[in-house]
Symmetry: C2
Subunit: 199 residues, 2 copies
């Protein structure tokens, strides 16, 4: 029984992954209105029936995408925190780079579309806000731990907040055109500031 | 002739203003898809014909809204810069508050909708990018001048960039729920950092 079922479960999981990946790409590249369950199914090469079995509504699909982002972000972050160097400059640099990378990838561009849609859709906002808060808490925990591993610096909490708000602003500046050159200057300036404040 | 024409010109200008104000409100509250010239005309209590006389296309309307934001922002900014105190702490505080206010009002929420739509609409992006660049340059000039009125601090340019990216990130954090309490802490932390860096 188990051996016969395993492949089907694996196929089902692979289908789900394909749908979630296609949703992120479609949100980021084609926007909220274009991203329906049917359109995502077509882009992922999945039958409409199979897609609706996994995600009966767009809300279910979007919730799953946001949860997947959360999983991937927290997984990444704990790997980074687990391997940070002792040297303050190097550590701060890695933490800031990681924080900025959260907000400058395709996932963030996808999330921005959901955010913009939720601004005018109270029902969607109700779904998004708790996921958003969970993501923000995880990002904050990662940043504080990275900046102040021993938990001794009373300023670390607020400096982590500045870091994440700055990262979010840099992400937004990157949505319409490639802002990576300017961004690397801004990141270097903030890393200097942070090192000085934490030393 | 002049006296007879004057009231008509004034009425026309007032109609245009009403349409622009209604567009900002509608974008911020109801999103990009809902904000058509016809819907804006109805919300502003203007006939569809009169609205289309002023703004034949949604693109024309959105461009005018972005230009109006630019005018209002640069006007405000030059008033603020003209009246800054000499005291460093007080000056930095006012400049940061002003920078943050650019990104936390209804105008920014409206612009965010345009931004999100432009991410998946290359034609709209072509229209928005130069306006966006103009706005960014004006905001940067205001911030640099405010932080370093004598133009003597080589760090002021980069610190102004950090200030504006941070302000943009704070604006984004405020779109789905009121973030003003957390924001005031973040702003206080950044003002301290800036004063230390500029002293």
């Amino acid at each position: 029984m188990t051996t016969a079922r395993q492949p089907q479960q694996e196929r089902s999981r692979a289908t789900r992954e394909r749908l979630l990946d296609a949703t992120v790409e479609m949100l980021a590249g084609q926007g909220w209105s274009a991203t329906t369950v049917a359109a995502v199914a077509e882009a992922a090469g999945v039958s409409r029936g199979a897609a609706q079995h996994h995600f009966p509504t767009r809300e279910a699909l979007i919730t799953a995408v946001m949860e997947e982002m959360f999983e991937s972000m927290t997984g990444d972050a704990s790997r980074v925190v687990g391997a940070l160097p002792d040297d303050l400059d190097a550590r701060v640099r890695i933490v800031v780079d990681k924080a900025v990378s959260i907000y400058t990838g395709t996932e963030f561009k996808a999330a921005l579309q959901v955010w913009a849609a939720a601004a005018s859709d109270p029902a969607l906002r109700e779904v998004i806000l708790p996921l958003e808060a969970k993501l923000a808490r995880a990002a904050h925990k990662f940043t504080v731990t990275g900046l102040d591993p021993t938990g001794e610096n009373p300023e670390a909490h607020r400096l982590a907040q500045v870091t994440l708000d700055l990262a979010r602003g840099l992400g937004l500046a990157d949505t319409l055109s490639d802002d990576s050159r300017r961004r690397s200057q801004v990141v270097a300036t903030w890393v200097e500031q942070l090192v000085a404040a934490l030393r």
